[in-house]
Subunit: 550 residues, 2 copies
C-alpha cells in the first residue's frame, strides 16, 4: 500500500509517523512544498525576538532523521500541483522535474496561507513580510540584520501580529500596530483585550484600531491608513489572517465549504474516495454550537493527523470537532481563551450571561501572586459553559486549560465549585479562580446576585441609578474615582446605610468585585434594588480609562 | 435565628461568611479554641522557611475585620466543651469563665489534630513539635531562634513533613527524615515518590524508611529507631498524620464512623437534628469508588463550609463527595496527585492498568522546558480514570488540575486526546503530556502496545526475556546502562533487526519511553513478541539506581 501525504508539518507529519507505527510495510511518501518539514511553526516569533537562540531548534525533524527512524520518504521542495482522483495520481513538481505518483490513500494537510490583501503599492513594496514558515523568518531576520530598520508597522493584531510586535520591540524597533477590528486581539472580547492594549501601550507600542492600510507608498516606506494618516515603516509585518491552502485540492474537484475550507466527513474523507484531509485547511464542527468553523491551531491539526492514520489503519475513530483554545504572551501579560466569545454567541443567537472574577494565580499570602482575571460565558438557564477568557501575568494557561477540559466534558457552571485542584501556597488557592467563577455564575443563575456589564454603566447612571463605590479612601486616592460615585467603604456600610437613598436603584462597585458583592447582598436584604458592576473598578478603569477621575 | 459555628478556619469561616451574605439578620457566633481564626494553615511551613517573611501574612482575617465586614461575633480562645442536642445548648470555656449558648443551628468544623503516638520519652522531650497552627509555628520559630539547633529529625514524610524538612534545611539545619511506610510521600506510589526521595537526597537530607521512632532519650536529644539505631536531634518535628477532632461532638453522642470521623448525611447533617459538620473531621465519599474516606484538605473543607451555609439558607445543595487532589513542593521538585493510588486500588479490589509518560512542561524548543512525568491509573476495560500522579519541576499543578477535572467529569482515557489546551511555546506543546497519556493508555487498551512495570523487569529477565535498549551509545555512556541489555539504537533497528533472537520475548526500553514504543511497534510487526518497559530508563534508574551500570 502506498500512502501519499501532501504537507509535512503538524497534521501531515502526525499522520505519517502514526501510520508507520501501525503499518511497518506501507510505503509512505510526504510531499512538502517548502524546504522544511515538521518545523516549529509556533516558535517563529520567538526566534525573531532572540528568545529561541538557535535556528536549529526550529527544525524539529529532518528528512534524514525521519527516514532513519520511521522509514518515511520525505520530499521537501516538492509541490503537489494536481490530483487525479480517478486514476489516483498526484502530479509533483520540484526544481528539476514534474512527475506523477500513484496512491492508494491520499492525505491532504496543506495548511493555511497568509491572506495578502490587494492593497495599492503592495507589490512594489520591498519591506513587507508575512510569517508562516522558516523561509519567512529567515527573510525577516536577514532584512533586520542588513537594513537595521528603526520603525515597524504590524498590520493585524491577532496572535501572530502581537507576538511579532513584541519580538520586533525586543529587536529594538519602534512598533505601531494597525488593526481593522475595534480592538487588538479580536478573538477575545473587548474588555479582556483592553488589558493587552494597555500592556502594549505601556511598552511603547502605538495602536490604531478600526483602521486598515489602504496603500503602501515609497516602496513600502509609507503605510497609508484608511483615514489618510500616514505611518513611516522600515519593516511591515502583514498578519491579517489566513486562508485554507486549497489549490491542489481544487484540481480534483474536492468539495470546499465554509470560508473555502475543505469539506470532510467525520472520518476526514473528502467527497473523493480515498482522499482525506486534516489540519488548518478543513472545515470542522465547533463542538459547542455544532456550527461549521475553521480553526487554524496546532493542537487539533496534530490530533486530526493521528486520527486519520488510525482510520486508514482500520481503528475506530471519528472527528468530534474542536472548541478552539489559544493563548498569547504579550510582554508581561498573557491572554487566553477557549470556546465561544460574545461576538460568536451573538451571531449564533445564543442566550448567554457573563461574569468576570478576579483571583490570584496562587495564595495571596505567598510571594509573587499574580492577578488572574477570568471571564466566563454561560447559558443562564442551563448553566452550559460557552467559553472562557483570562488575562494576567501567571497561571492563565492553567485556568483556561481547566475550563477547556470542563467545556469538552460538558460540565456546567454548577460543576465548577466541585472541582478539586492542587493547593499549596506556591501553586494555587483553596478556592481557585475557576471555583470562584462557578460560585459567581451560580449566584447569578440563582438570583443571589445581579450584575451589569461595564458597557451598561454610563447609561444606567443617566437613568438615575446611584453608583456606590465601597472601596476605601486610600484606594480612591491611589487608583482614581469612578464618575459620580457615592463612596462608603464596605466596613462602614451597615452604620452609614441611611446615606443611600432608598427610592433609587443602586449599582455597587469596589476594586475587584468581591466587596461589592458583599455590599450588594447587604443592601438587597435591607430592601434596596441593587446590581453589581461586574468586574468592578479594576475592569472598568482598564476599558474606560477616560471616565476615571484622578 | 442564632447560628453557632465551632471552628473558625476553612470550613467554619466559609460557612460563616456565606451565611452572612445570605442572612443579613441572623446572629452568627464563631467559637475558636485557638487564638487565631481564618489563618493560612498551608502557609505555615513557608513561614518557618522564611519564604513568607511577615507573620501578619498568615493571619488572613481577624475577629475585628470579620466584625466590621460581616457582622460576625468571633470568639477566639473559646473552646466548645459540651453540646446538649436536646436543649440545643453549647457550653463554652475561655480563660475567664464557662458559659452556655443556645443555638438554632450548630455547625461543627473542628478540623483534625496531629497524631501523637505514645512513644517512650515523648512527654519528657522538650524539642518535639507538631505543625498545625500559628502557635505551633511560633513555638518552632522561637525554639530555632533561642536554641540554634543544628540537627533536626522529621518523623513522618507526608506533605507537611516534607515541606518542613525543606524549611528546616532553608533555616540551616541538617535534616533526617524517618518514615514508617516503605517510601517517602506515601500518598504517591513508590516509583513516583522515588523522584522526591532523590531530590531530598541531592539536597543533603537523609532518609530512613520502613522505620518508626521507638523512643526519645535525653529529653528528646536522641531519637531511637525501631532497629535500635540512634539519631541525634536538636529539634524533632512529628508529622505522622492527623485524626478528626471529635471531642466536643462526642459529648452529644454524635455518630462517628470510618477512622473516627463524624458521620453526616449528604446535607452535612449529623445524626442530631440541626447539628451539621464539615471539613477535615467528617467522613466523606471518595467519588471514584464511592467508599468512605477522610480527606484533610483545604479545598473540600471550604466548599463544604459554603454548601452547609447554602443548605441552612434553603438552597438546594448536597455533598457529592471528594476525590482528593494534593501537591507538594520539595526543593526544586514538585509532586502532585489526584484520585486513587495503586495501594487504594488494590485494597478496593479494582482492576487497573498503569502508564507513565514523560513530556515537557512547554515546547521543548523554547528555553527552560522542564520534564513532566505523568502516571495514569485507569480501568483497562472501560477506560475510567482512577487517578493520576505527576512529578517534575514545572507545570505539575496544571496537569494534575486538568486530570482532576477530567476525573470529576467522568471522562475516560479515550477522551484525553480530545482535550484542547492552550499552546504557545512558553506555555505548552501541541501534544500536551495529558494528551500523550491518553494516547498511551489507548494504545494499551486497544492492544497496540503492551507494557511491563519497573518492578517486573528483573523477574522477566530471569525468565529469559531479552532486554533491548534502543538508546544511543552517547546516552549509555552519559547516564549508565540497564543490566544485561542488548543495545541497538532505534535508528539502526531496521537494518540490525536480525541481531535479535526471534524465539525469545523482548522487552524494549529507551530513555523516556517514546523511542521504545516505536521500537516495540517495529518489532511486533516483524513477528517479535515484545513488551515495552513502561517509564523506560528514566523511571527505572530512579527507582532502581543500584541496578544501573555506570
Amino acid at each position: 500500500m502506498r500512502i501519499l501525504i501532501i504537507g509535512g508539518v503538524a497534521g501531515g507529519m502526525s499522520a505519517a509517523t502514526r501510520l508507520r507505527r501501525l503499518n511497518e510495510d506501507a510505503e509512505i511518501i510526504i510531499l512538502e512544498k517548502g524546504p522544511y518539514v515538521s518545523f516549529a511553526n509556533c516558535g517563529l516569533p520567538y526566534y525573531v525576538a532572540g528568545e529561541i537562540e538557535e535556528r536549529s531548534k526550529l527544525l524539529v525533524q529532518t528528512p534524514e532523521s525521519l527516514q532513519a527512524r520511521f522509514n518515511l520518504d520525505v520530499r521537501p521542495e516538492s509541490e503537489a500541483i494536481a490530483i487525479n482522483a480517478q486514476t489516483k495520481e498526484v502530479t509533483v513538481k520540484n526544481d528539476k522535474e514534474e512527475y506523477t505518483l500513484v496512491y492508494d490513500k491520499l492525505i491532504l494537510s496543506p495548511g493555511a496561507k497568509p491572506l495578502i490583501p490587494p492593497i495599492d503599492g503592495i507589490k512594489e513594496a520591498e519591506n513587507i513580510f508575512t510569517l508562516r514558515s522558516v523561509p519567512d523568518v529567515d527573510a525577516i531576520s536577514t532584512y533586520i540584520d542588513n537594513h537595521k530598520p528603526k520603525k515597524a508597522v504590524v498590520i493585524g493584531a491577532g496572535f501572530i501580529g502581537l507576538e511579532m510586535a513584541e519580538s520586533l520591540v525586543q529587536r529594538g524597533l519602534e512598533v505601531t500596530i494597525v488593526e481593522k477590528a475595534p480592538h487588538v486581539l479580536p478573538p477575545l472580547d473587548e474588555e479582556m483585550a483592553a488589558y493587552i492594549a494597555k500592556e502594549l501601550h505601556d511598552k511603547g507600542v502605538e495602536i490604531y484600531t478600526e483602521l486598515a492600510a489602504s496603500a503602501f507608498e515609497e516602496s513600502g516606506k509609507v503605510v497609508v491608513l484608511e483615514n489618510g494618516e500616514k505611518l513611516e515603516s522600515d519593516l511591515t509585518l502583514l498578519s491579517v489572517g489566513v486562508k485554507p491552502n486549497t489549490d491542489v485540492a481544487l484540481t480534483a474537484d474536492i468539495e470546499t465549504g465554509f470560508r473555502g475550507g475543505i469539506v470532510v466527513d467525520d472520518h476526514y474523507e473528502t467527497n473523493k474516495k480515498d482522499i482525506y484531509a486534516v489540519g488548518d485547511a478543513i472545515v470542522v464542527k465547533q463542538q459547542i454550537n455544532n456550527q461549521d468553523t475553521m480553526i487554524a491551531l496546532a493542537s487539533p491539526a496534530n490530533r486530526q493527523g493521528r486520527q486519520v492514520a488510525d482510520i486508514i489503519s482500520g481503528l475506530d475513530r471519528f472527528n468530534k470537532g474542536s472548541i478552539g483554545t489559544a493563548i498569547v504572551r504579550v510582554f508581561d501579560q498573557v491572554a487566553a481563551s477557549t470556546g465561544l466569545n460574545e461576538m460568536q454567541l451573538k451571531s449564533s443567537g445564543e442566550q448567554y450571561d457573563v461574569i468576570h472574577v478576579q483571583g490570584k494565580s496562587h495564595a495571596g499570602y505567598y510571594p509573587n501572586a499574580g492577578t488572574v482575571l477570568l471571564k466566563l460565558l454561560f447559558n443562564p438557564a442551563s448553566g452550559k459553559i460557552y467559553g472562557a477568557q483570562a488575562v494576567g501575568t501567571d497561571g492563565i494557561d492553567k485556568r483556561i486549560d481547566i475550563l477547556a477540559t470542563a467545556i469538552k466534558a460538558g460540565l456546567t457552571i454548577q460543576d465548577l465549585p466541585e472541582l478539586e485542584f492542587t493547593y499549596a501556597p506556591p501553586f494555587g488557592s483553596a478556592k481557585d479562580p475557576v471555583n470562584m467563577a462557578g460560585y459567581a455564575a451560580l449566584n447569578i443563575i440563582e438570583g443571589v446576585s445581579e450584575s451589569i456589564q461595564w458597557h451598561e454603566l454610563e447609561e444606567k447612571q443617566s437613568d438615575g441609578h446611584i453608583l456606590l463605590d465601597v472601596r476605601n479612601e486610600s484606594e480612591l486616592i491611589a487608583n482614581g474615582q469612578l464618575p459620580n460615585a457615592l463612596n462608603i467603604p464596605l466596613d462602614s456600610l451597615r452604620e452609614r446605610i441611611s446615606e443611600i437613598p432608598k427610592d433609587q436603584p443602586v449599582i455597587v462597585s469596589c476594586h475587584s468585585g468581591l466587596r461589592s458583592y458583599i455590599a450588594e447582598r447587604l443592601l438587597k436584604q435591607n430592601g434596596y434594588k441593587v446590581k453589581n458592576l461586574d468586574g468592578a473598578f479594576a475592569l472598568y478603569s482598564t476599558i474606560r480609562p477616560e471616565r476615571i477621575i484622578k
